[in-house]
Amino acid sequence: MAGLAPRIQERRQVSAATRLGRAALIFVSIAFLALLLLAPLGAVLAQALENGWQAYLGSFADPDTRAAIRLTLLTAAIVVPVNTIFGVCAAWAIAKFEFRGKSLLITLIDLPFAVSPVIAGLVLVLLFGANGWFGSWLQERDISIVFAIPGIVLATIFVTFPYVARELIPLMQQQGSEEEEAAITLGAGAWVTFLRVTLPKIRWGLLYGIILCNARAMGEFGAVSVVSGHIRGLTTTMPLQVEILYNEYNFVAAFAVASLLAVLAIVTLVLKTFVEWRAERRTS
């Protein structure tokens, strides 16, 4: 899903009619995007600042909101490294070796993208809920997964599962393994080969995957909503806190928390564009 904006070459003289058509299409594109993407973004900021900066900043004094921010950061801090390690392992196995069932494995890794986030939460409730497969076993040991933080982490791992792997697999397949083979032949160990040969080659792709994984991990709503139980101050992440505040008609606070998430999205886009630009410069 890399952004593609190759340089345009003006090849020939164009007629007035073509120029008019061109302007119309550009206008339609920009108007469509402004209406669909920028208007909602502007609405978030406008609503958050409706009662001024004081009220805006005051929204973050709420201890429940602070707890939600902490929980979101904690979740991302667990989920992103786990899925990064998984993604690198999966990409190494798939890109460096030829084995049976590889395309099935790739399809299965992509599966969480195709499944509704609500299903991701539902399956965890079926497994770990009070009436689930492991429900009574967990209850005897006084461990709670659903309606507690472990459930939120597991649901988030599920929905962000493919992000890093998806970026790395095609990149590493395209890069081939000659350099790694040379390193091994010259006597380098496996770990040294990965750190000194592979990692520098894939670092931009890896970073790209991590950025997208992090954005989704911090912003996931559907899956987390099903397993969280919405216990205020304990199991609400930022998106859930937005929902709670919104449903209480506390719009300024809801949009204030939402504005933090919107800033996160914009930072994500900026970083992503930067990484793409770096990767492009490396190849050209």
Binding site: S29, L36, L37, A114, V125, G219, V242
Partner: protein, 280 residues
């Protein structure tokens, strides 16, 4: 490891990385999904059919699928125009527009949901203007469509863009030299080359739209039989501790996802074959 299973290689780490990958995949994705299938199979056939043919469930499929279909079709048209403008024309701010396409991927769905509700509610700045014409978007099925257009847009644009870059300009120029009108060139040269990519983007947007939850529930109003999407019905059943009913609906959605995934793979394989056949 036996060579029938894999080709020999001097690179290390096959057992470790493949083992960890399959273990983690099984634990996080496959085992939970198996639990869903298992739970569904614990229902009797008549219970299963009863859940699926409940009028409220049927109304929710119609909305989820119908709205996703309309949204994906609208994205097919506008996503194509956006991709076309970005690939073919240079205009001020093109890179910015290109970067902003991915906003729906980066913006948490709950934020898009409340933001759209704010824009399109009868008191919101667009909703106000639309209500003059008697159109209400928020809290109707139209709201669901708008939310799904937002969510699906990047899938179409990002699928079509690379395919448009690949279209051979000399073919177009040859057609023009031979006197073909722009629309004819578009229909006979550009569209056939881009169609598999457009169809892939359409199907991805459709699949995502059917399962979408966060951005929809804030703008749809969630009225039973009217503006209730299937994922929301699953959440409601879970809140009522009707795990069997939730599992049955989840199972149907899972089957839908598999069908979509399979379709996307078929379309992509077809596109690749066509590319080879046309000698590129």
């Amino acid at each position: 490891m036996a060579t029938w299973f894999r080709q020999p290689s001097i690179l290390p780490g096959f057992g470790l990385t493949l083992g960890f990958t399959t273990f983690f995949l099984s634990a996080i994705v496959l085992l939970p999904l198996a639990a869903l299938v298992f739970k569904t199979s614990s229902l009797t056939w008549s219970e299963f059919v009863g859940v699926l043919t409940d009028p409220r469930a049927v109304a929710s499929y119609r909305l989820s699928f119908g709205a996703a279909l309309i949204a994906a079709a609208i994205n097919g048209v506008f996503g194509f125009i956006v991709a076309w403008s970005l690939v073919r024309y240079s205009f001020p701010g093109r890179r910015l527009v290109d970067a902003i396409i991915d906003l729906p991927f980066a913006l948490p769905t709950a934020v898009s949901g409340i933001a759209l509700a704010a824009v399109f509610s009868p008191t919101g700045w667009l909703g106000q203007k639309l209500s003059i014409f008697g159109v209400q978007v928020a809290y109707t099925w139209l709201g669901v469509v708008v939310a799904l257009i937002l969510i699906g847009l990047p899938f179409v644009v990002r699928s079509v863009q690379p395919a448009l870059v690949e279209v051979q300009r000399d073919l177009e120029e040859a057609a023009e030299t031979l006197g073909s009108k722009p629309f004819y060139t578009f229909r006979r040269i550009i569209l056939p080359a881009v169609f598999p990519a457009l169809l892939t983007g359409f199907t991805m947007a459709l699949a995502r739209g059917i399962g979408e939850y966060g951005s929809v529930v804030f703008i749809s109003g969630n009225l039973p039989l009217k503006t209730e999407i299937t994922p929301l019905l699953i959440v409601i059943k879970l809140e009522q501790f009707d795990y069997g009913g939730a599992a049955a609906l989840g199972f149907i959605m899972l089957v839908m996802s598999f069908v979509m995934l399979f379709t996307i793979n078929l379309v992509q394989a077809w596109g690749r074959r066509r590319l080879v056949a046309s000698g590129r």
